[in-house]
């Protein structure tokens, strides 16, 4: 019964979304409020129906309804309760429901918030958003139906991909999709603005916080993805430039560029065409990401689905790309800049450079990702593009971005005077140089790492300097230190939220540089009772034990670790044997530390437990990635807070620190 109900709900939601989209558009053209109200009811209906689909699918998972193909393919009788719920988005069909569900929630929020305040833009926004919902519902109806029946009904299912049995995989897709779908809102507003021809700054002011929300979730999704990769996959890394990772990273890059360039438009009425281009690109790239991961056109370590989903996504991508850019071309004469660039040494040009570098990074990632396709199309040979290419081209870009991160927020608008430069940058540059020199004296020889650390110190100093000045100014008005800093952060939350995000990026940068430069690994075979020494740790092999879990068996090794202070920890890396998998899966065990993580992977072992091979990694500074990520999300959350009403926000947020 469940599959039929689910399928009916899907089709009904599709019909409602198509109708709602058309009705909203028609209401805008004809000026008929009755149609608009009807389309709003359709949006509510879509939300209810998609939620029903979610609930039915969760129910099917919880009751082991193997008559549903998707359930049989992604769970079995041994799958624990909570993973049966999260298995809902463990593969393509359920991910699409999750996507449609989030989109329907965002649509409802848009209805609730802008129904009265944005009478002109709003109907078109609703039309665009319901149109996009309709696409996802179409995918759920034809190429990837989650409720497809399976006959004959098997006694047990195949089981969830064991690598997905992890808390990171419960949260990662949710955060990532909230980010992806979040960019739908600014995109829909941009399209609405183009359609009605009111291409001022309105759509940007309205969607500013939406963009930060989307960016926040996308960042969170990427970070959780990195954490999952690090502690589940057992290779000791967090980023591999795999096509799937790149797919999520590209919209992050263009979204970050957008986040910055809208500030120029708000302040200087420039870059209108550019901002529209960026939001179209960002939204297209979220679709492209799904296309890439689901079409199977590019090889990846991730599991890919086949079938006609790819064709559907490509067709929609074509519709979005051609449609949106045609609208842009149609309105191009209204997109002239009102302001102009006065000087190269100014905040505008720092932001422009930041945009150019971010888009260049997105382009190189795109190029590297589709290059195998291009090469095969032209030369007919199969090639692969690996991490060395991406690192080579992206490291200089990211170092330049780091530098601009220090310059952008403090340099004056229009034209920076020598006095402005000296006042804001002399001390930070000095601190950066001293920091790099100190690191060199401490024995760091790698030039890229030194440059990175010097830049980090420079940027941190600019942020510290600005904050100290502003807090001191407030203190003169009588506030205490705590009140002054808190008050500052809350009153200018967008500016200081941005600074906190920048601090998070700095911590991340140190983590990336440190982990790449200083991590070590070795592989040793130990007899029971034997010990080895790696990077100051003494690791003793205590023995093996077999454990039966509900859906797999595992062999657990016990390793006692001591350092120079005595016993440190006991690590128990394991190998898991899932009946549905051909190769055993390594379960890493690790001990995280501020400066270094000890990370153990169990390799080959003797069945009698007499000896075992382990890979020992000492991963340095990796924890800084998670700490930096935490700081970054705090900053984004601060920037999302509603701005205080007292003064127009735009004027303050753009205020140069020297004023």
């Amino acid at each position: 019964m469940t599959p039929e109900l689910g399928y009916a709900a899907t089709v009904a939601a599709l019909v409602l979304a198509v109708y709602g989209s058309g009705a909203a558009a028609l209401s805008a053209v004809k000026g008929r409020p009755d149609l608009r109200r009807s389309s709003e009811r359709a949006a509510v209906g879509v939300w209810l129906l998609v939620m029903t689909c979610m609930a039915l699918l969760i129910y099917a998972f919880l009751t082991f309804d193997f008559s549903v193909r998707y359930v049989a393919a992604n769970t079995n009788l041994g799958t624990p309760f909570y993973y049966r719920i999260t298995a809902v988005w463990g593969a393509l069909e359920g991910s699409i429901i999750l996507w449609a569900f989030m989109l329907s929630i965002y649509t409802l929020i848009v209805v609730a918030r802008y129904r009265r305040t944005q009478p002109q833009l709003y109907p078109w926004v609703l039309a665009v958003m319901l149109g996009i919902s309709a696409f996802f519902l179409l995918v759920m109806t034809i190429p990837a139906p989650p409720f497809e029946r399976l006959s004959p009904v098997p006694a047990d299912g195949r089981g969830l991909n064991p690598l997905l049995e992890d808390s990171g995989m419960i949260t990662h897709p949710v955060a990532l999709y909230l980010g992806f779908t979040g960019f739908t809102v600014p995109f829909a507003f941009a399209m609405a603005a183009l359609i009605i021809g009111r291409i001022g700054d309105e759509w940007i002011t309205i969607t500013r916080r939406w963009t930060i929300v989307a960016w926040y979730f996308l960042s969170l999704g990427l970070l959780i993805g990195g954490w999952w990769s690090y502690h589940v996959l057992g290779w000791g890394g967090y980023w591999a430039w795999d096509p799937v990772e790149n797919a999520a990273f590209m919209p992050w890059l263009t979204g970050t560029a957008f986040l910055h360039s809208v500030m120029i438009q708000e302040r200087r009425r420039m870059l209108k065409l550019w901002n529209l281009t960026l939001i179209i690109l960002t939204f297209s790239l979220t679709l492209f990401g799904t296309f890439l991961t689901r079409s199977g056109i590019i090889g990846s370590v991730h599991a890919f689905s086949q079938g006609s989903v790819g064709q559907f996504f490509l067709a929609f991508l074509a519709l979005v790309g051609l449609g949106a850019f045609s609208l842009l071309a149609w309105r191009v004469e209204r997109l002239g800049a009102q302001g102009e660039l006065d000087s190269i040494v100014s905040r505008e040009s720092a932001f422009l450079l930041n945009n150019l570098f971010l888009v260049a990074a997105a382009f190189t990632v795109f190029f590297g990702t589709v290059f195998p396709l291009l090469a095969e199309a032209i030369t007919g040979t199969k090639v692969s593009v690996g991490a060395p290419f991406f690192n080579l081209v992206n490291i200089p870009i990211f170092l330049a971005l780091l530098f601009l991160m220090g310059v952008g927020p403090l340099i004056a608008w229009r034209r920076a005077s020598a006095e402005n430069l000296r006042r804001n940058f002399l001390t930070p540059v000095g601190i950066g140089v001293v920091a790099a020199a100190a690191c060199r004296l401490l024995g760091i020889g790698n030039a890229v790492v030194l440059l990175c650390l010097g830049l980090v110190a420079f940027v941190a100093a600019t942020i510290g300097l600005d904050f100290a000045r502003a807090a001191r100014a407030r203190r003169r008005t009588g506030d205490g230190w705590l009140d002054a800093t808190w008050g500052l952060a809350l009153r200018q939350n967008r500016r200081y939220g941005g600074f906190v995000v920048h601090l998070g990026i700095l911590v991340l940068a140190v983590g990336v540089a440190g982990s790449q430069a200083w991590s070590t690994q070795t592989e040793v075979t130990l007899n029971r009772g034997e010990a080895t020494e790696v990077a100051g740790y003494t690791i003793r092999f205590e023995g093996l034990a077999g454990v039966e879990e509900s859906n797999h068996a595992k062999v657990v090794g016990t390793f006692a670790v001591s350092d120079k202070h005595g016993p440190y920890t006991v690590l128990t890396p394991a190998k898991k044997f899932y009946p549905q998998e051909q190769t055993p899966i390594a379960a890493v065990d690790y001990r995280l530390g501020v400066l270094e993580d000890l990370y153990l992977v169990l390799g080959e072992f003797a069945r009698d437990g007499s000896h075992a091979t382990i890979k020992v990694q000492v991963n340095r500074m990796v924890s800084w990635l998670w700490m930096g990520g935490f700081v970054l999300t705090l900053g984004a959350a601060l920037a999302i807070l509603p701005e205080p009403r007292r003064k127009p926000a735009v004027a303050r947020a753009g205020q140069p620190a020297t004023a």
């Binding site: 056109i297 090889g299 850019f325 199969k382």
Partner: protein
């Protein structure tokens, strides 16, 4: 706005077209279709004991067309989808000298036997103890099917389930060749 620039602006949407074309081209290629180095090489020989206890030795089958199929009972749904086709092909071609061998890959005895009785397989099937044969053939994942000609060379490797159509094509082609 001059006419030239009003035409020029339509270059913006047109710029999307080459990218779309490249992506569409992607559907014509399969990134996982990496040619097997075994194709054209002599098939490695093996001797296994079938589930019913009879020996299965490839060496004794020189001069005949052999289909070796690697499967497992946990391989769902691909192995279940192809199983009826294999049995049909075996029934259709066994009188013309075809040999078909099923190699059971990393499986447990009882579910494997249940799989065989579920599909009523009448061609020999043998468990691959220690995965020796699978390693020799470079089996990456089940199901995989190897087509061996009368001279004992691997001529075609199918990754993923085989269809009636594919079995017919490959077997007919190899049966038509002289020893």
């Amino acid at each position: 706005m001059s006419r030239a620039s009003s035409l020029l602006r339509w270059m913006i949407p047109l710029a999307v077209v080459p990218v779309l074309a490249l992506l569409a081209y992607g559907f014509r290629t399969d990134p996982r279709e990496i040619p097997s180095p075994l194709v054209g090489k002599p098939a490695s020989l093996f001797t296994l004991t079938a589930f019913d206890g009879t020996p299965v030795a490839l060496a004794s089958l020189r001069g005949r067309v052999v289909v070796v199929n690697f499967w497992a009972s946990w391989c769902y749904p691909a192995c279940y989808e192809e199983a009826p086709s294999l049995e049909r092909a075996w029934k259709a071609y066994k009188d013309r000298g075809l040999v078909m061998v099923g190699v059971n890959y990393q499986d447990k005895d009882e579910p494997a036997r249940r799989f065989l009785s579920q599909f009523g397989h009448s061609f020999p099937n043998a468990p691959d103890q220690g995965s020796r044969v699978s390693v020799d053939y470079g089996v990456y994942g089940v199901p995989e099917t190897y087509f061996i000609d009368r001279k004992g060379r691997v001529r075609f490797k199918q990754v993923g389930p085989v269809s009636d159509q594919l079995l017919k094509e490959q077997i007919e082609r190899l049966l038509a060749e002289a020893a």
